[in-house]
């Protein structure tokens, strides 16, 4: 029997998987960044749900930090992306492989 909590956790897991697939499979850097956002937010969802069910505020506190970091991360990610475009003329990940061994 699926409870509400389990459903929410399943949703979070589903979102995490989608995010992971986007990060690993999409070649477009903007999509990768969006995938990362999805990963972070699915984790947020899971945290909030657990904190609600466990009646503890800690999880929700954690979410605030994650949101802050996500904002900073996307700002940096986007600026890297701009530089990537300037240097390689594209934002596809397969073009930025100058560290190949």
């Amino acid at each position: 029997m699926l409870t509400n909590e389990m459903l929410i956790q399943l949703l979070a897991a589903f979102l995490f998987s989608v995010g992971l697939l986007v990060v690993l499979l999409r070649r477009d850097t903007i999509m990768v960044l969006m995938g990362i956002e999805l990963l972070l937010n699915s984790a947020n969802l899971s945290l909030v749900a657990f904190s609600k069910s466990a009646m503890m505020i800690d999880g929700q506190m954690q979410v605030f930090f994650v949101i802050t970091i996500a904002a900073a991360e996307s700002a940096i990610g986007l600026s890297i992306l701009v530089n990537l475009y300037r240097n390689f003329g594209s934002i596809k990940t397969q073009n930025a492989t100058t560290l190949r061994g």
Binding site: L24, T93, A96, L99, R100, G101
Partner: protein, 658 residues
């Protein structure tokens, strides 16, 4: 046995080291470069510190005299050098009556030679380097004679070897001279191995390496019985060390080559001090050597044979320094002969007088070479007497002393050795005859050297003749001091016979050394003793005078033996080429070692070592190139790998936790 602790021995030791430091580090920093230090400054500093040592040595010597104890000694305990297992080696210095004499010789003659060098090396480059080495040498030599245990003695032993190498190759830009330094070092290494083995064996048997303890233990009959089976091996090993350092057969070959160093170095290191280290070591360990009849016989015979062998080579050499070098080898042979028959005191006596007259002769030859614009070949000298009056006078005294002309120092010590060689129980007629022959040879080649250098026709080239000049005061002054010592030093050891004539003059040196190195009782007593002594003394004086006169007279008009006696041409060639010993060593030992090293270079180095090193490098490179395909540069591949890794880790943790 009484010993007083004092800081003086340590100060005597450290003083030349300070000089070394100043000349080696401080002055080059001040003048910005080794070559820049002025000769007067470098020489002055070096002389000052060795002179300080000499003054302190005198102080110690006089306080030794003042101590009323049977065997006085002054010691310094500096620190514990190392201590493990049963082996405790303190850095401990000891001056007793034997090492006291050596300390005075080293610092006294050392000071004179430093003074001489200041003038002799005046126009050389890098005098700072020269004087720093010279001071370092004195430090090591003092450590050798003052160290109260064998490791310290060995430290000094190696140190003087190092300084000898550095100074022989002082003019290292000339390949031949640099090679002579290397030769000395390598040949000494062979001997040092023997010394080390002897030292290890001694430790195994006695459990101590402290000299005083060794000599104390050997008074115990039980210990003696225990050590008896291996004592010959120990003594022979130690003696091998002595043959290396003191240039005896078969390791003497380095000393003649060592003459390529500056002449004052030859005087200090290769005549007066370092080469006598072997004699000192045997005298120091005489209770040990006295236990082994076989070893003593070996020492005596090697000494006697070397004395004769080197003496005969010296007749045919034309290089003035080579003559003196072979003469040194020969005189060292005399000292070992004395040690071998058990006359340790006499060996020390001859060591002392030899230090005086041989240093004098070397410094004199330096003065001659200096005057002749660097010419060492006696066939291009002659008639120098009127140009170099001071050098001639002092060298004549040195020659008379070494030849054993009565009442000069060499006469007393050599006479005592000859006498011991037949009178002591270990001696017998062969040793005595070899000794007498060598004494005759010594007088003969010394006469030849004087004659070729100072008398006869002037054979130098016009240029050289134009530049002839007597050496400056700083060089002649040490000559005169040494001449005085060489002339009168022998009166420290007047034999009974003459002593009786001179109003019961005692044998000062024997009385002085008795507590440390006891004199063997002569088997003869009373009138028989005197008669024996008289025969030997008169006989050897006549031989010395005749040979010396012959040497002077014959070579006034001739240069070589062959000029006089046509029949000995072949013999002369053999002598001139030093019995082809160098060639023999080259053909046998050196060629063998070279072949061996070539073989090991081809097989062990090329295949094994290079194979291992290169194989490792190649292996790493192969592994790397197969791993590089993992490094795609694509960030998403890395992400995937991280995911797999994370999953694997999670699985592992789950497995452990469950």
């Amino acid at each position: 046995m009484e010993s007083v602790y004092s800081y003086l021995p340590a100060l005597i030791l450290i003083s030349p080291l300070v000089g070394f430091f100043i000349n080696g580090v401080v002055l080059p920093l001040k003048y910005k470069g080794y070559a820049k230090t002025p000769a007067n400054v470098a020489g002055g500093v070096a002389t000052l510190f060795i002179f300080l040592s000499f003054l302190m040595g005198l102080k110690v010597f006089s306080s030794l005299q003042g101590m009323n104890s049977s065997a006085p000694a002054i010691m310094s305990y500096c620190f514990e050098w190392f201590n493990f297992g049963g082996l405790n080696i303190p850095f401990e210095l000891r001056i007793d009556k034997l090492s006291g004499i050596l300390v005075l010789i080293i610092t006294g003659i050392g000071t004179l030679i430093h003074v001489y060098s200041t003038s002799y090396m005046h126009d050389e480059e890098c005098v700072g380097r020269y004087f720093s080495y010279l001071n370092l040498f004195c430090f090591n030599m003092l450590l050798l004679v003052m160290g109260n245990n064998l490791p310290l003695l060995f430290f000094g032993w190696e140190g003087v070897g190092l300084c000898s190498y550095l100074l022989i190759g002082f003019w290292y830009t000339e390949t031949e001279k640099a090679n002579a330094g290397k030769k000395a070092f390598v040949v000494n290494r062979v001997g040092d191995l023997g010394f080390l083995i002897g030292m290890f064996l001694l430790f195994r048997e006695l459990g101590t390496l402290t000299l005083t303890d060794i000599n104390l233990l050997l008074q115990d009959a039980q210990v003696v019985a225990k050590i008896m089976p291996s004592v010959t091996l120990i003594c022979v090993s130690l003696f091998v060390g002595a043959t290396g350092k003191s240039a005896q057969m078969p390791l003497y070959v380095w000393l003649p080559d060592a003459m390529s160093g500056p002449t004052p170095v030859s005087a200090l290191i290769h005549a007066a001090t370092m080469v006598t280290a072997g004699v000192y070591m045997i005298a120091r360990l005489h209770p040990l050597f006295s236990l082994s009849e076989t070893a003593l016989t070996l020492v005596a015979h090697v000494g006697a044979f070397t004395a004769l062998f080197a003496g005969s080579i010296a007749i045919a050499q034309s290089d003035i320094k080579k003559v003196l070098a072979y003469s040194t080898v020969s005189q060292l042979g005399f000292m070992f002969l004395a040690c071998g028959v058990g006359a340790y005191q006499t060996a020390v006596f001859h060591l002392m007088t030899h230090a005086f007259f041989k240093a004098l002769l070397f410094l004199g030859s330096g003065s001659v070479i200096h005057a002749c614009s660097g010419e060492q070949d006696m066939t291009k000298m002659g008639g120098l007497k009127k140009y170099l009056p001071h050098t001639h006078f002092t060298m004549l005294i040195g020659s008379l002393a070494i030849s054993g002309i009565p009442f000069f120092s060499g006469f007393f010590s050599k006479d005592e050795i000859l006498y011991s060689a037949i009178a002591l129980p270990n001696g017998y007629s062969l040793l005595f005859i070899v000794g007498v022959l060598t004494a005759a040879l010594t007088a003969f080649y010394t006469g030849r050297m004087m004659s070729l250098t100072f008398y006869g026709k002037e054979r130098m080239s016009h240029d050289v003749k134009h530049h002839l000049h007597e050496s400056p005061f700083l060089m002649t002054f040490p000559l005169y001091v040494l001449a005085a010592l060489a002339a009168f030093g022998g009166f420290l050891g007047v034999p009974h016979l003459l002593g009786n004539f001179l109003g019961h003059m005692p044998h000062y040196l024997a009385t002085w050394l008795d507590p440390v190195v006891p004199m063997k009782e002569l088997p003869l007593v009373g009138i028989k003793l005197l008669l024996h002594e008289a025969v030997v003394m008169i006989g050897s004086s006549i031989i010395a005078i005749v040979s010396f006169g012959l040497g002077i007279k014959l070579f006034k008009s001739h240069l070589y033996l062959t000029d006089m006696l046509k029949g000995i041409k072949g013999f002369h060639v053999v002598l001139e080429n030093k019995y082809f010993v160098d060639e023999f060593y080259d053909k046998t030992v050196i060629r063998f070692v070279k072949k061996l090293s070539e073989l090991s270079a081809a097989i062990i180095d090329k295949l094994v070592i290079d194979g291992a090193v290169n194989g490792l490098g190649n292996g790493v490179r192969k592994v790397g190139s197969s791993l590089r395909i993992l490094q795609t540069g694509d960030i998403q591949t890395y992400g995937l790998m991280m995911l797999f890794g994370l999953l694997a880790l999670t699985a592992l943790i789950l497995k452990i936790l469950m």
